[in-house]
């Protein structure tokens, strides 16, 4: 009896997948509450803006976006993803901000053969040995922006650097990325500087009094920090309030120096260098439209997170178009996604064999623009067509 029922169930499931292609379901799970919420909200708003510009369709089929909040907690995310996959039977998934959450839900998503288009989290595991045909990253590999900062700090000749980052996979990727280009031995360019201290904080920590006292006693000439969301906002505020900005130059990846942080911190951010693969003042048609429409829609400047969410939607659109709506043909859909038939707001880029982007990274500095507003300004290019360090370990074809 159970055997017959299972067969029946299998038949029903088959029947379910045949008529799935009359619309495209996207499961969007992201951090929408707590200190990391700003990031998730920006990705969501960027994604939704793109869907709106596409008249509510993906590849010509009506799009249904189901949103869930992971509360920055792996097990909440797992529950939400389970529901997306088993109950809603979504065609795509996206939205996750933090690598630890990505790593927690990844196996379930891949096992279910559902394409995940990452609009942020780019853990090294999925770029290297654990790379997966169902995982695409439309943003960057975690290390990339940190590598770019490392290069800048190295080139500018700083010698005594402190690193501050949360104690989670993304934080450790940041340290290894930074040190790949700034460190005496491992650095390809062979620098003379040293890392005086690596400080690991709790993820979500907001009071940095103890860390700042430690930094004061070290007296570094440069400080590299990677603290996403509200963490970075508080860190910069308290760093300046403690008077440390007089002796120590701040460096950060673009995440910690984008519009969300600038808006919250204000003037103390001026003069901070950061790296990014995108800037709101990049001059191309897609970007101009994105920045203008985003401001019109939400009344604030877009951040790089928003640009990544925006790109993720266009990537899905291109994929669905490429297979003419037959998303159940996974092999064909994979090929269509790899082809990257859309124009990114950051200019051109292509996918590497591990489904991570090969792209340019730029230097930005925070200052006042012509209208007196504090914002990022594009300074120059740090890397051209830069790939990640893990692609060689990826055996995917």
């Amino acid at each position: 009896m159970p055997l017959r029922l299972t067969a029946l169930a299998a038949a029903l499931m088959l029947a379910g997948s045949v008529h799935a292609a009359d619309r495209i379901k996207v499961g969007f799970v992201s951090t929408l509450s707590g200190p990391g919420a700003g990031l998730g909200v920006d990705i969501r708003d960027g994604f939704n803006l793109a869907i709106k510009q596409l008249d509510g369709k993906l590849g010509g089929l009506p799009a249904e976006v189901i949103v869930a909040d992971d509360q920055q907690s792996p097990d909440v995310a797992k529950q939400a993803v389970d529901k997306f996959l088993k109950k809603d039977k979504v065609d795509f998934m996206t939205g996750i901000v933090f690598s630890n959450i990505m790593l927690a839900v990844g196996p379930t998503v891949f096992e279910n053969q559902t394409f995940y288009i990452s609009a942020n989290a780019g853990p090294s595991q999925y770029a290297g040995e654990q790379c997966n045909p169902f995982f695409f990253n439309v943003a960057w590999q975690n290390d990339n922006l940190h590598e770019a900062v490392g290069k800048v700090v190295q080139d500018k000749g700083y010698k005594n650097v402190v690193i501050v980052t949360p104690n989670y996979p993304g934080g450790k990727d940041a340290v290894s990325g930074f040190k790949r280009y700034y460190a005496p031995k491992e650095a390809p360019s062979g620098g003379k500087g040293k890392v005086a201290e690596e400080i690991y904080t709790k993820l979500g920590q907001l009071d940095y009094a103890a860390e700042l006292a430690q930094i004061r006693s070290i007296k570094p000439d440069a400080l590299f920090f990677f603290l996403p969301g509200g963490m970075g906002i508080n860190f910069v505020k308290q760093f300046v309030a403690a008077g440390l900005s007089r002796d120590t130059q701040l460096f950060a990846p673009g995440f910690s120096a984008d519009e969300d942080v600038i808006k919250a911190v204000g003037a103390p951010m001026m003069g901070m260098f950061n790296s990014s693969h995108w800037a709101h003042d990049m001059d191309n048609a897609e970007n101009r439209r994105f920045v203008a429409d985003f401001q019109k829609e939400y009344g604030r400047m877009p951040s790089l997170y928003a640009s990544q969410g925006y790109d993720a939607a266009f990537m899905m659109d291109a994929g669905v178009r490429g297979v003419k709506g037959k998303v159940e043909d996974k092999a064909a859909l994979k090929k269509a996604l790899e082809a990257k038939n859309f124009k990114s707001v950051r200019g051109d880029f292509k996918f590497n064999s591990n489904h991570y982007p090969v792209q340019n990274y730029y230097l930005r500095v925070i200052g006042k623009d012509s209208s007196g507003r504090i914002t990022n300004r594009l300074m120059g290019t740090i890397f051209t067509n830069h790939a990640d360090a893990y692609v060689a370990q990826c055996k995917m074809k």
């Binding site: 029946l8 029903l12 907690s73 927690a104 989670y168 993820l203």
Partner: protein, 315 residues
């Protein structure tokens, strides 16, 4: 309060329910609602966890707000076992119970020296300490928790299908409820219930009250550990969230909704609360307001204490 006595209709009702649960997974499969097998497993596991708290709170009269520590510890032991190649549930589950029980032994040995508000706060504080200990230990995965590479096996049988895990959880719950049912009428059960009602009198009758309380507390902790280990198998993750004190609060709400000191109180409470969550969360994101108001209403309109709602009176 009197000693717990099962109602006459209870036994047939439980048997009917058990039979219904046995055919639930294939039935859900047939309806194309396989997702709900996982949900049902979740209910069974929380029923087990809430029942373990009911043993401590309802039967033992110990108002612990730190039960989540044992629940979470069980989940971590399951994850560590998987990491170290101990994938047989027959070995891993008893191990989870042992570790959770030992943790309860330490917490209980200190907390049970105090009474009343102190006991509530201290169990709470120890649970929080366990939480921080697990979160700050890098070998335990820190904030991310420990993922399980796969599910356990049961004497060579894989539990990787949702159905198999469902039946395992059902088996565990049935065993535990049978045990608790026997315990309630055995010497130990009568002893802890009498201690709950009048501790000083039991001491004066020659009972080493502290020892019985501690054993009850440890038993509850071990059973919570069992539930935690099962939950880690279901979600594939031993998460520090399981250790948080709000989790203790949720278990407490389950026990109270279901009936304190009533054998199936934890089971009913888990079922009601999780179904409420599943249904209401679909309608509104703000269903917690409704739940909060419900809790306050229960307190305000049951003037003789919450237990009175369920036809019991405080002696």
């Amino acid at each position: 309060m009197a000693f717990y006595r099962p109602a006459r209709y209870q036994k047939p009702l439980v048997i009917v329910l058990l039979l219904a649960l046995l055919v639930l997974p294939p039935a859900l499969d047939a309806w194309g609602q396989a997702f709900y097998i996982g949900f049902a497993t979740r209910v069974l596991i929380f029923a087990l966890a809430a029942s373990s708290l009911n043993l401590v709170l309802g039967f033992g009269g110990m108002f612990s707000l730190g039960h989540a520590a044992f629940f979470g510890a069980g989940a971590y032991v399951a994850a560590i076992c998987m990491d170290n190649g101990i994938s047989d549930a027959l070995l891993a589950l008893p191990l989870a119970m042992t570790v959770a029980g030992l943790l309860a032994l330490v917490v209980g040995a200190i907390s049970l020296r105090t009474r009343g508000v102190y006991f509530i706060m201290i169990t709470l504080a120890f649970a929080q300490m366990t939480y921080y200990l697990f979160v700050s230990a890098r070998v335990l995965g820190g904030d991310d928790g420990l993922p399980l590479a796969g599910r356990m096996t049961l004497g060579g049988l894989s539990l990787s299908s949702d159905g198999a895990l469902f039946y395992s959880a059902l088996g565990c719950l049935a065993l535990v409820m049978t045990f608790l049912g026997r315990l309630a009428g055995a010497r130990f059960g009568r002893t802890i219930q009498a201690i709950r009602d009048n501790e000083a009198r039991m001491e004066a009758l020659g009972y080493p009250v502290f020892r019985y309380r501690l054993v009850c507390f440890v038993l509850g902790g071990a059973l919570a550990g069992l539930a935690g280990a099962l939950l880690a198998n279901l979600t594939g993750l031993a998460s520090p969230n399981l250790l948080q004190w709000t989790q203790s609060g949720t278990l407490l709400v389950m026990v109270i909704i279901g009936g304190v000191g009533y054998l199936y109180g934890g089971v009913i409470g888990a079922l009601v609360l999780l179904c409420l969550e599943e249904v209401l969360a679909g309608f509104t994101l703000h269903w917690h307001i409704g739940l909060g108001l419900l809790l306050i209403a229960i307190v305000l309109f049951a003037p003789r204490g919450v237990a009175a709602l369920f036809g019991k009176s405080d002696g």
